[in-house]
Structures are given as C-alpha cells and as structure tokens.
C-alpha cells in the first residue's frame, strides 16, 4: 500500500465541521453547473 493521501489531507477530508462547509460549497457549485442550463450545439444564436 502506498500512502498517497497525507494524514493532514485525510483529516481535512473526514473532519465533519470542515466537511459541513464543503457540503454547502459543493451543493452550490453543483447547482451552478447543473442549473447553468443546456442547449444545442449546432446553431449559435
């Protein structure tokens, strides 16, 4: 096994308080990508 994720990184990944804020951040970011809309590609208005 190769430890590719450092202890500090893992702490950040699994800390519930930090991750709570990450959860809010990710929810908003995902909404932006998803609700950013969609459309065609063939005709540029």
């Amino acid at each position: 096994m190769t430890q590719r994720i450092s202890k500090y990184q893992r702490f950040k990944m699994m800390n519930p308080i930090l991750q709570f804020f990450k959860f809010i951040y990710l929810s908003i970011k995902i909404m932006i990508v998803v609700a950013g809309g969609h459309g065609g590609t063939r005709k540029v208005d």
Partner: protein, 485 residues
Amino acid sequence: MSKIVVLGAGISGHVAASHLRRKLSKEHEVVVVSPNSNYQWIPSNIWVGIGRMKSKQVLFPLAPLYKKKGITYKQAKAVTFHPEGDAIESKPYVLSEYVFGDKKGTTEKITYDYLINATGPKLAFEATEGLIPGENKVYSVCTYGHAEHAWEGLNAVIQKLKSGEKAKILIGTGHGKATCQGAAFEYILNVEQELRRHGVRDNAEITWISNEYHLGDFGMDGMLMSYNGMTMKSSEMIEMIFEDRDIKWILGAGVNKIEDGIAHYENLDGEFKTETYDFAMLIPAFSGHGFKAYDKNDNDITDKLFKGFMIVDADYSSKPYEEWTVQDWPETYQNPSYKNIFAPGIAFAPPHAISKPRQSKNGTVISPAPPRTGMPSGITAKLVADNIIDSIKSGKESLHHKGSLGNMGAACIASAGYGMTQGSGVSITTYPIVPDYKKYPKTQGRQLGKTFGEIGLAGHWLKLALHYAFIYKAKMRPFWWLIPE
C-alpha cells in the same frame, strides 16, 4: 385531445411522464408502459450491494402513484413498433405484451399521438459467456434484485475472511465494450471500505478490471479537472485513490468468458489472460432491446427506427475519432423518420463513443461505450416532454427545448464508502459531458472551473441527500418539480 405513450418507467420514462402529467390538462392522456412494477433509484443499488441499504429503501410501487396522479399504467413490455399503424389500425401503435396480472401473456396495440421510448439499455449479460448474475461467483448491482444477491455473495466472502482465509475480489467491466464504469468504481470503493469496517481488509486482494485505456476514463475520454487548487487528470486522481486504498488494476481488458472463479480476458496487446477471484462484480455490456418496426403494409422498417438503440437527430455518418464533434450529438432526441417518436435517456443511439476507440492486436474492440448517466437521462426526458407539451398546446411542431450532451453539464457523485462519519464520496462535475475540443482546446475539451473533483465525507452526505431528494421527487410529493433533474 392527445395521447402520449411513454415506454419505460426508469429515470427518463418516469421524469417524462411526471412532467407531462403536471403540465398537460386532464383531457390529454399520459400512458406509461413498463414491465417493472417498482420504480428504483438505481444509483443507491451500490449501497444495497454492500448491505448498508435494503431494497425497499431504493424503490416504491408505481401503480398506486400513477393511479393517484392520473397516469395510465400498463405493466407490459413493448414488443414491436408500428409507427404508421397497420391494415386494421389507422393510428400508430406499439404492440405490447402484458407481463403481470389477468392479462399476462396477452398483447395489446397501444395507440399514440406521441411516443417516448425510454426503455434504457438491455443488460446484455449473454454477450459474455458465463456472465450470469449470481453464478460462477460473479454478481451485478444493475438492479436492486441483483444488488441484494451481490450482498449475499459479498457477505459470504466477509465471513470467510473473518475466519482467517484469504480472498480475491474482482470488480469492473465484464465486456470489451461495456460502459457504466462509474458504477463499478463506486462499488469497488464501497466494498473496500466495508472490508475495513469488518476488520478483514488485510486478508483480501482487491483488483479493478476495466476496458478503459486509462484509469478515470469512465467512457468520457477522461477529464482534466480542478482539484485542490491544482489542475489534475482524472487518471491521476483515480490512481491516487486506488494506490491509497491498495486496489490493483488491470486496464484495456475485454472480459470474454467467465468460469467459476475465473475471468478470461483479452488485452490490447492481443494476449489472452485470466484472473481468478472469490467474488466478482462485473458490469455487463449494454445493448438495445432488439425491437422490430413495421410500416402499415407490414414491411420491416426496423432500420428507420433502430441502430441497436433508437435513431434520433444525431449525425451517424462514420468518421474517425479526430473528426468527432459535439455537433454529432442529438439535441431534441426526435426520430428523423417519424417526428412524433422521441428517445431520451439511454434509449437513443449515440453517434459514436466519447472515449478514443481502441482495438486489440486481434481486432477485438476494447474501449468503453458512451455512458448516459442519471442526470442527462432526466434532463433529456424533461426536454422531450416540454417539446411535446409545447407542440400540443400550440397545435404545431415545436422543438425549442434542446439539450446536447455537448452543451450540458453533469454531476457525478461517486460514493466511496458508506457512513455518516466514516463515509466518503468522489464528487465530480463535468462541463460539457461530451468534450468540445474546439471550444476548450487547451483543457481536453472541458471548461476547467465547471469540471472539478473533490474527495471527502461531504461527498457521501451529498450522495445521501440526492438519494432522498430524488426519491421524494419521483414520488411526486409537494413541489417535486422544484428539484432539478
């Protein structure tokens, strides 16, 4: 008055039917024809497959919901398509066979004004010899039934490991042209975490086997993404996760035969190899359902409707990878020969793959077919429903709503382990789904800010939140339509 028939009650069929019913007055009839009695939230089957969720948490019966909402429901499967009717029936229809109840085994000509084919993929286990869920120690998580069965198999291995025995676990794709690598990726990480939770991880060797050329290809030609303030390739990110979790990998592998505990595969060098295992979960090839179509004189017109999956407004002319463009991908999912037929979700025939096609030295195709995940399946179903609604309301064809996979983002929250405090998820968003190499030439066809990855506990919470939100939405509870696809 119009009659809209929706074939299939999976993600796309159910989304289309629910929007049609909400936005059309009761004089218009919405009919769902599907062989499954339950709606299932497929993404959570991963958790059923590790014993952390029960099937009943990922499904609900369709008949009571459809009755309450005024959607006609026929538990039947489409057999043949007759878009011009026939000598007796002047209206277009789909010949369907009931699979349940008093009418079981009988057929009906279900006529329509508009038809939405949302029949998704056929799970083509038979394309790989010996790949039968629950036999030869190989399992699937593609349906809740399969996932329950997989948990039984995995649990037996966990008990064996607890008694001090060693075991080999193999997870990935079970065919050279398989897709849905993301689901297998989630499952391998969940299995790995469960083994740790049960304190038996050290006794197990876990291997990823896939038809991808690079790790993290996911049938999407890989991604360049923002991660932790850096720009990283998806291959690097997945390699980091696999190494950190001590998961080995075999790439460019076209599994072609399964025997009890032995997977036979060919690699891109044309070598024929085997990998042994005590428990395997391999995603089968996805194919069309093999539907036939006939004109009013009963002549076979299957090639006007199907090319494996259903033909839509894509550019199907064959061209080399270097000439593929986002413009090849469909925008309205309308069949060009019969304008009142649409195919959203997985049911439409893609113009070509997304990943670079590769063959072994023996000429065997070993590269992923293009994935169509839940979000685009829902979005394309909604836009098809909206175009039909507009056409009905305006009395003329309206195709204002468009959604090419080359101009649409997708979020993929891959579960990497279950648990409110110990869980993890790999949250990836990508924009666009099909890379646009002309628009984003320097970032592998994608917009960097909108193509990003995150690893951590928040990903698990997100995945769980999506589970509850989408089941709430599918049950058409108050204000369900406010939840985006």
